[in-house]
């Protein structure tokens, strides 16, 4: 019994140290590391970069040539159009497209999808705005929509289900062929946007539906039946895990969809054209996706801890150019290598890939095995010299064998076995 209790003590100690020692290590040795910002020059037809180094930032092209701020801004006229306009240096046209302040301001796209948006705790109640009130400003509704095994609307002030409205929507869903329960829901529950796109919902079979409220009435359609003949099979084959809705002034992009095979798609235009984003290494759980669109191009970059990949699409969503660059992950820096050598494993309860808490383990390098072995030998020798090498010391030795320095620290912190 005592040995069992002691083993439990050592086990908990190793787990705690595996969380706190690496945290303390990084508190002391962490340095600022920012990935480069990728730009695409529509005049030079090449990628440009804003790179952060120790304490400064450098502007470069893909060949490593360094640029001064003015030259950099000249090569990226659309990203810096306001400054160039003020200095009188904005070109009149680029590639036959006229650069007017009005067009530049209007034709902007900006999306950002972070891994935590895809897997995050959220209350299953969300406001369904009225997209067609005749008013120029959107207004928050007085009720919340609950879309799960059924669809219901709950009035916030009274905390009561609105029977009529809920029944109306339930019928509309049934008529549209929606199979409950809903599996994925995506929308933008804010009034600070130019119009309301509504929600995209995947039903139990994985089919995508588009839901809006128009003057109090439901507007729900199976997207594949609204799409053109060539897009219909693509919609039917789509297995979405995440819908990203972020209404833009141009109203061109309905949503960005991430599917089960880590492919990201644009849903575009009146006929819900489904355009794949041709990234080759996009891992939605570990990389941020940033879309910046302007009058000429769409630049999509996926940034993770160990790589950054960017693709450029033209206004018809045809691929123009591609760039990939490996980044040095923290584990490959000198501090990271040292950490992986001395910590046989580390334990975290939060991770960049999700908004949920969990148990996230990382294993050390092969050197850590050697370190563990060495420490075990030292421990055996030390115990042997004090004539304390006994069976009751097995938990201690196991802790050193598995936990390396965690085990050594515990042997000295915890009471001796008798």
């Amino acid at each position: 019994m005592k040995t069992f209790a002691r083993t439990l003590l050592f086990a908990s100690g190793v787990i705690l140290l595996a969380h706190y020692l690496p945290a303390g290590y990084w508190l002391l040795s962490a340095k600022m590391r920012r990935p480069p910002i990728v730009y695409y020059s529509c005049t030079e037809k090449q990628f440009m970069f804003f790179r952060y180094t120790n304490q400064t930032a450098i502007r470069m092209d893909a060949h490593g040539k360094v640029y001064e701020r003015e030259e950099f801004e000249r090569i990226l006229p659309i990203d810096h159009w306001m400054q160039l306009l003020r200095d009188g240096k904005l070109p009149d046209t680029v590639g036959g497209v006229a650069l007017t302040a009005e067009a530049l301001r209007r034709e902007r796209l900006s999306f950002r999808i972070k891994p935590t948006m895809i897997d995050t705790p959220s209350v299953n109640l969300t406001p369904l705005l009225d997209a067609d009130t005749g008013r120029v400003r959107l207004e928050m509704p007085e009720d919340f929509m609950r879309l799960g095994a059924t669809i219901e609307f709950i009035h916030a002030q009274t905390n009561v289900v609105e029977r009529e409205k809920s029944a109306l929507f339930q019928r509309a869903f049934a008529e549209a062929g929606f199979v409950f329960p809903a599996t994925v829901l995506g929308g933008n529950p804010s009034t600070m946007k130019p119009y309301d796109e509504g929600y995209y919902v995947a039903d139990a079979t994985g089919a995508t539906f588009h839901l809006r409220q128009l003057r109090g009435k439901p507007d729900i359609h199976r997207v594949s039946s609204l799409a053109s003949a060539e897009d219909k099979p693509k919609w039917e084959a789509l297995k979405p895990i995440y819908f990203h809705v972020q209404e833009q002034d141009t109203r061109e992009v309905h949503a960005i969809i991430v599917d089960k095979s880590n492919q990201a798609w644009f849903a575009v235009g009146k006929n819900y054209r489904l355009v794949p984003i041709p990234l080759q290494h996009y891992d939605p759980a570990r990389m941020s996706l940033v879309v910046r669109g302007d009058l000429i191009n769409r630049l999509i970059s996926a940034t993770g801890e160990d790589s950054v990949e960017a693709v450029v699409l033209n206004r018809d969503y045809g691929l123009v150019d591609r760039y990939t660059e490996p980044l040095v992950p923290r584990a490959a820096t000198p501090a990271g290598k040292l950490a992986r050598a001395i910590f046989p494993f580390t334990l975290r309860f939060e991770d960049v890939s999700t908004g949920y808490l969990g148990v996230f383990t990382e294993v050390g390098s092969r050197i850590a095995l050697l370190v563990n072995g060495g420490l075990l030998v030292l421990m055996l020798v030390w115990l042997g010299s004090r004539k304390q090498l006994r069976l009751s010391r097995l938990p201690d030795l196991l802790a050193v064998a598995i936990g390396g320095i965690y085990g050594v620290a515990l042997v000295f912190l915890l009471p001796k076995a008798d």
């Binding site: 306001m82 400054q83 306009l85 003020r86 200095d87 005749g134 008013r135 120029v136 400003r137």
Partner: protein
């Protein structure tokens, strides 16, 4: 010693009950208090319009109580509702001969709000001085902070040290302008999300107002009384502002709002620092909030205090074109408020809406509370006498009931008896 200790206990007890009991009362009793009306000035009817919420419903009216539908109301306020009117095709092409375009309307919109706690609030005495003419389209955060104490110094955040060269250059400019340290008012807007940078308005120890800018790294410091036309010089020299508020607007016309040594409000307007007085009758900067809203044709000044609403409208030349006054119902005068002021002889709070500082904010009850306290005192004295415990040693307790009314009664039962 024992007597002193009991006194301390009673005083602390009274103060605590005076703080927590009224808080508890309002927690139970408070209802959503109706706001004062939202006010507008119509360039079409040349009068004020009000959006009032009564019992949860919205009513749109003019000063005579005539009500309007939402569509009529929006037609009378084209500059506030141009997006909706444009969408419905009801937007007039011009008003008073002036052509209306969305760009022009947006450019001329301005708003500024001064709350009483802005005049009395703790502030770290380090101010970022932006570069006002970098040639860049956006303002940039400076890498240092300006410290104006008994001299001027610039501190670099990265090194936590004084930038000696820059500080010396600015010190020379301050000396040349005969600035008398220390500064009594330092007012600017340390945000970079603004259309341009107005720098800081400073008031020196002698009460003179200065304007400080950083232009291409060099200090530009003007004694305002020397930078204005001769006609205004005397006005600026006699002005000793106690509060200045800077909030840069797109149209760059109103540069600052200030309150002088007599608590009168002024606007500082235009390139020549023209002083425009605001002839308000009910404005106490320490108690009321003031809003300045402007559009293509007018400036509307709204003063909201707890019990009163005052409005003043100007045209673009700052000539007065409208004035309005209305008393508002106060929470104090509501049923719950009257009851509270009778029950509680005083209430104590440590924070106040009118100040950012914590303090000892004591509010007295109404005269009715004297009756309640008197009754409590008689009750307690009678009760003690009945138990034959009325003696000199119970004087502190009786004082507590006399001063603290129901607080005192509660204390007597909560605390141990004196022997």
């Amino acid at each position: 010693m024992k007597l002193l200790a009991r006194l301390v206990l009673l005083v602390v007890g009274l103060l605590l009950l005076g703080h927590y009991l009224p808080q508890g009362y309002w927690l139970l009793v408070a209802k959503r208090w109706p706001h004062g009306p939202v006010v507008f000035y119509s360039c079409i009817t040349k009068d004020f319009l009000f959006l009032r919420s009564t019992n949860g419903a919205m009513a749109r009216m003019d000063r005579n109580g005539k009500t309007y539908s939402r569509a009529e109301f929006e037609t009378l306020l084209p500059l506030d509702n141009w997006a909706q009117l444009a969408r419905d095709g009801r937007m007039p092409k011009s008003v008073e001969g002036v052509e209306l375009s969305p760009g022009k309307i947006r450019y001329e919109r301005m708003s500024m709000r001064i709350r009483p706690d802005m005049l009395d609030t703790p502030e770290v005495p380090l101010h970022p001085l932006l570069e006002s003419e970098s040639g860049r389209v956006r303002l940039e955060t400076p890498g240092d902070f300006m410290r104006l104490g008994n001299g001027i110094a610039f501190l670099s955040a990265a090194t936590n040290a004084i930038e000696t060269e820059k500080s010396a250059r600015f010190a020379k400019a301050f000396a040349a302008a005969r600035f008398a340290f220390p500064s009594t008012v330092i007012a600017g807007n340390p945000n970079i999300l603004k259309p341009y940078d107005e720098g800081y308005f400073l008031v020196d120890a002698a009460g003179a107002t200065f304007h400080l800018l950083q232009v291409r790294g060099e200090p530009v410091l003007r004694r305002i009384s020397e930078a204005v036309p001769a006609a205004a010089k005397a006005q600026w020299e006699s002005l000793k502002p106690t509060f200045v508020h800077v909030q840069e607007q797109e149209c760059r016309e109103i540069r600052a709002f200030l309150v002088d040594q007599n608590r009168r409000p002024w606007l500082v307007v235009g390139k020549d620092y023209r002083l425009v007085p605001l002839p308000l009758e009910h404005y106490d900067p320490a108690k009321a909030s003031l809003a300045v809203r402007g559009d293509l044709f007018n400036r509307l000044i709204t003063v909201n205090s707890e019990d009163h609403l005052e409005l003043l409208a100007f045209n673009r030349d700052y000539a007065e074109v409208g004035r309005y006054n209305e008393d508002l119902p106060t929470r104090k005068a509501s049923e719950a408020g009257v009851t509270a002021r009778v029950l509680f002889p005083f209430s104590l709070e440590f924070e106040d809406d009118a100040s950012g500082f914590m303090g000892f904010y004591l509010k007295a009850g109404s005269l009715g509370t004297l009756l309640v306290s008197g009754a409590c005192l008689l009750g307690v004295a009678g009760w003690l006498a009945a138990r034959k415990r009325l003696s000199w040693r119970r004087l502190p307790d009786l004082l507590a009931v006399a001063v603290g009314g129901i607080y005192g009664v509660l204390l007597i039962f909560l605390l141990p008896k004196t022997e």
